[in-house]
Amino acid sequence: MTLLQSVFDALLGFALLWLAWQALASPDLFKGIVLFIAFGLLMALAWVRLDAPDIALAEAAIGAGLTGALLLAALARLDKSSWRGFGRTPVRPPEGNNRDVIHPSKRDTKSAHEKTRKPKPITENGKGQAAFCGLLVVSLSALAAGLGYAVLTLPSQAPGLSDSVAASLEASGVSNPVTAVLLNFRGYDTLLELGVLLLALFGVWSFGVVPERRESSPGPVLDRLSRLLIPWLILVAGYLLWVGAHAPGGAFQAGSVLAAAGVLWLLTGWRLDTRFSGWPLRIILVAGLGVFVVVAVVLILMGGRLLEYPPSFAAALILLIEAAATLSIGITLAALFLGSRPETGPQR
């Protein structure tokens, strides 16, 4: 049994390294992405073997699912010549040192994932290039060896926080220790992290409005598939949110599954009605962070510290925050997949 497990682990570890290498070295970008998706799948298995089902869920939804969809969509857009030069006119560059903007018409029209040559090293001249690569390989091997040595010399008893977490679990309001850490003990990290997610969206939206993509008609099969799958995705998201209090699951996993529903919906050609893409959408996007901040402020006004939940309310407050966060995470990730700000209706 243990031997078998070791074989399983060794095989998995080897497969991870090999897949990562192939994904990064493949001359065809599309192949690289597919291999990367497979890599994410195996990562999820590794999390399972490491007794981390919470992370396996997150990886299954994000690492193997959403990131893959994001990468595929980006790759597709790399080729769309129609997409170029959107947003602003390059007639007058906004900063003085941008004089030599290449105008859209002059851009070469090569396709993005033509076999992009051999992986192209930084230096151009052949000899220097070989020397550079050699030096790089040697120094990175040294780095890996050093890090490996450092890892192996760690004491075999982990001086972690398991005991403190177990001791305070009672007062945290949930019985899944990972959720307790995420939403209560280290809830402040989570608050900032929702900020990071929202910020990524601000950034993507600030890059300009992309002309609407003509989505071809989904056809009966895709239509049926999405009609069947989307309710299940939403249901599973709700289930993960609910179950997160006492078993693996929680807001991030639920949010990413919800995002998958959104992505599927977008892929069938559905778009948010312009009436809702202004205020209503924005409100939902900030709901997770907003509820978190409001709870924090109310608790402070009631005399507590930042995010210090009274034990009797802790469960309810955590569920409230998680529910809002799930919604926001789901919609934000779906909006990130869309890639740019949906056009709003007639300017308000």
Partner: protein, 102 residues
């Protein structure tokens, strides 16, 4: 060998592999993949070492950190991909120009 250390070493391997690819490849999409592989490596080290005490339940704190990390990574990836498309739109290439070596 304790599987914890095995996976931690795989994590170190992924980290260096990603670093190599990040430096060597010019195409931005590959660089973004490389960053993601590196992040997976770091997460693997963080979680694997938490299980190294034989027979004890794993430490949940690194698990929570990694979930935080995964969400940060996907946010950064989304931003990077959008930016890559902007670079492509502005320069016609999905690569960064060589840094002028002065």
């Amino acid at each position: 060998m304790n599987p914890a250390f095995l996976y931690a070493l795989v994590g170190v391997g992924l980290f260096t592999l990603g670093l190599y690819a990040l430096i060597v490849h010019a195409h931005l999409l590959r660089k973004i993949l490389a960053i993601n592989v590196m992040a997976s490596g770091v997460f693997l080290v963080l979680v694997a070492l938490a299980t190294r005490t034989q027979g004890a339940a794993p430490d949940p704190v690194p698990h929570a950190m990694v979930i935080t990390g995964i969400v940060v990574a996907v946010s950064a990836t989304a931003l990077a991909l959008a930016l890559m498309l902007r670079v492509r739109a502005e320069t016609g290439r999905a690569e960064l120009a060589e840094e002028p070596l002065e």
